[in-house]
């Protein structure tokens, strides 16, 4: 299944995460290749978000490892991982709600806009800040949000908020972008636009890992799909293969609320 030879950009080995007695992720392994759009799916409660949280450093793994470009990064700080190029988005609208649209993306430029403390005080950071602002506007432009730059986030419709969430992450210039349910709550038109954008982000050289419940979107978008069930690996393969796999159908039908709406 994996294109042989080349080293995966991201790899989970025997990843386990417990919450008390509950095993949310159970000895789970998968690897992601550079330039791929890699889907991670599974019924509600399968452990997808927890996997993201462990990979992105929000939770330490109970056991197992995460490797980023061959380097063991398990248990490192989220901010340190972002500096290495591993950035995630959040399920739902996790934004700086009280900020303007532009300020949200400006925070996303945190790593790019370096300056010393004194420089910030006396204003010699003006050049790097101007570059950061330009870059932020460029990112908004990419998502078609440039006209809304001055708006407070709370004025934005839900679909635009999801896009802004992705813009904030993209402003951090990731090598690997983890998207947690980017299409949730979007109408079909917005979903189509968003899918096109995800492809364009990949074409810029960003590897994408995608958790999503919109099966049509997942099947259309992903090069490869990993299916989780009860915290463990169920199946992995190309979309057509996964779609027709009896174990996958069984897992989705078996879960009480099916594939339609799980989170």
């Amino acid at each position: 299944m994996n294109p042989s030879g080349e080293r995966p950009i991201l790899e989970a080995r025997g990843l386990t995460r417990r919450f008390g007695g509950l095993v949310a992720v159970n000895n789970f392994s998968f690897s992601v290749h550079e330039g791929a759009i890699h889907g991670l799916i599974g019924p509600n409660g399968a452990g997808k978000t927890t996997t993201f949280n462990v990979i992105s450093g929000f939770y330490a793994p109970t056991a197992g490892q995460v490797l980023f470009r061959g380097l063991d990064i398990s248990g490192r700080k989220t901010s340190a991982l972002a500096a290495m190029g591993l950035v995630r988005t959040f399920q739902g609208s996790t934004l700086f709600q009280e900020f303007s649209v532009l300020d949200n993306v400006r925070v996303g430029r945190h790593l790019g806009a370096r300056a010393g403390f004194i420089g910030r005080l006396i204003g010699t950071d003006r050049l790097s800040e101007r570059a950061a602002d330009a870059k932020a506007m460029e990112t908004l432009d990419f998502f078609g949000l440039q006209e809304l730059a001055g708006e407070p986030v709370s004025n934005l419709p839900h679909g635009h908020q999801r896009m802004l969430g992705m813009a904030v992450a993209l402003a951090a210039e990731p090598r690997v972008l983890l998207l947690d349910e980017p299409f949730t709550g979007m109408n079909p038109e917005e979903t189509r636009r968003m899918m096109a954008l995800v492809r364009r982000i990949r074409d810029r050289g960003v590897t994408i890992i995608l958790v999503e419940h919109d099966m049509q979107a997942v099947m259309n978008l992903c090069d490869i799909i990993t299916v989780m069930n009860f915290g463990a690996l169920l199946v992995e393969g190309a979309p057509e293969m996964v779609r027709n796999d009896p174990a996958v159908i069984e897992a989705y039908l078996g879960s009480t609320d099916g594939a339609g709406h799980a989170s």
Partner: protein, 341 residues
Amino acid sequence: MSTAGPAGSIRRAVWRLRWVFLFAILAALPYMLSYSQQEIAVLLVINVLLVCSYRLLTLTGEWSLGHVVIMGVGAYASALLAKQFGIPVPLSMLLGGCMAAAIAALLSFPLFRMKGFYFLIGSFAAGEIIRLIWKRFTDPFGGPKGLKRIDPFPDIETGFLSIDFYEPVNYYFLSLVVVSVSLFILYRIERSRIGLTFHAIHWQDRLAESVGVDTFRYRTLAFVIASFFAGIAGGLYAHYVGAVNPTRFSVDQMVYVLVWAVVGGTTTFHGPILGVVVLTVINEIVLRALGLDTARPLIYGAILILSVLYLPHGLESLGPRLRTRWQLWRSGSAAGGRELA
């Protein structure tokens, strides 16, 4: 409303001159006050720095109960450096600020493992431990009685000029200069990307962290900067009053800082300044005139409750609210006038 035209340009010129007006008033103020009111004005200026430095910490969303103790760290450090090592007072004040910052940097390791309510309680505990150390160790901290006969700020004696800082008027101007410079630095920090990052951590620390903000480092930075300026306020206090003791920096005093901040509001830079100025004026002029100044804790409590109930966004929200009222009223009467014509 005309922003062009002569009225508009006058208004703009006045707006530009507001700093000149403000400093003129501040310069004239002590000469309109009695001696004891001048002493209060000195403490008020010091308290402005205390509450503004506190606000910087609250930008990251954490409210500490140890800020007054940190002020005390600056006060004790500056006093001891001057008393025991003969370090000149202006320098000892600066070092007192550095000591307060250093203690904050140390405390941030245990404290920033906590957030919200736990941070509040943790900062209270840390403050009590520091106060216990002051009480327990008579050498060098003077125990419960504290330090007395702290070196005053040295007089300036040159050919033409001789300034005795024992005079409240002169100490008022000294404090005014130190506090103005400090407020300017605090303002610049808030307006820079550092301030943006503090706010970002307050509103959504997980998102900030995920785009590379080391939230622990920035929380520590806010705590250290706030503590530095609280320490400077402590130094100004110690060398003015000439004595410090553990009770002066107890949690009762912290409650006043909280009341100033809450009543003034912490959304804007000037909110806490409004809070401390208005409450000090109420306390020192109105209550004293009525002979009610011993009921200060009670009255402060009542003011706090009233302001939370009727002015939840603080005194700072009063100006913009009145302005919109005024504009509504004006446009309303203008429309009425047109109808009549």
